[in-house]
Symmetry: C2
Subunit: 174 residues, 2 copies
């Protein structure tokens, strides 16, 4: 039960990352994540949209899944497994009622992204470097700083539940 | 009451559009929207992310707000009103429980984008052409076809509730 709980918490947290390549960090921070040695990919906020998601419960956020050009191309072509060089980013923000809508309805109807929340996560595909974790490296950054090793130890086991989709939870939203 | 209900339904539907420019339509469909004469902007699915949202109730969707380069620049610089040429797109998909997560929790925890839903909407800024509607033209397309005139008659009055933000509901999610 403990194992599945851990799995599920991480599933809920969503996608993660790590990096074979050396990335220049956004915001001048170039610390890399434990285990996988991933840095924050340069200009990831400009990447194209893969999909959107919402986590209920204590996570209580709205999230966007973005992909670099290799990721977007593979998704659109329905290519599995994802090719080396694929990077997928998961951003998240507080689940925030839209003021105008709440006022008009007398209750929350529309929810929008509030301040950033639950870190930023990345998955990096390098089938050689990350052969022991399904070809994926994982990373989470909280306020630009890599999360600790315990957090990164949970990524792979959770993502394995999406084995039929090359460990990636999110499908492409057309 | 009827008026506020209409307002709110449209607020819930979110952003809308129309167009001063002549756009080549995605998918070979070049019909334009009533009132505002907007066509579907070419390659809008490649635009960068402004924010994400969720509508509860009968709309029950997850949405992404994308912007063309002019929109993204204005948002990042905090520029109001938005300059002419700004186009904002609102995409939406069914609010869909993530299978792996639901199985592990025994209830829905993670929601992801399902099939497209509630149309695609656009707002186009042209302060001359759309002077009588706050400088914005609006449009909604359902399965690539423009929605009817009645739908388009509701856009402006609803978006006026966000007058302090130049009629745009969504803020930029960093």
């Amino acid at each position: 039960m403990k194992q599945i709980t851990t799995l599920v918490i991480v599933a809920a947290i969503g996608l993660s990352i790590s990096g074979a390549m050396t990335f220049s960090a956004a915001g001048g921070d170039d610390e890399s994540s434990p285990i996988y040695g991933v840095k924050i990919p340069s200009r990831y906020r400009d990447w194209r949209l893969i999909s959107v998601a919402h986590e209920e419960g204590s996570l209580n956020d709205l999230r966007a899944i973005l992909g670099n050009d290799i990721a977007i191309k593979a998704y659109r072509e329905g290519k599995l497994p994802f090719p080396d060089g694929t990077i997928i980013a998961r951003l998240a923000w507080d689940y925030h009622p839209l003021e105008e809508s709440a006022k008009a309805f007398g209750r929350a109807q529309s929810f929008v992204a509030g301040p950033p929340k639950n870190g930023v996560q990345f998955m990096v595909k390098d089938s050689t470097k990350y052969a022991s974790t399904g070809g994926w490296g994982f990373a989470q950054f909280d306020d630009g700083k890599p999360a600790n090793e315990a957090v990164h130890n949970t990524c792979f086991s959770c993502h394995e539940t999406a084995k039929s989709r090359d460990l990636v939870f999110n499908r492409y939203a057309p």
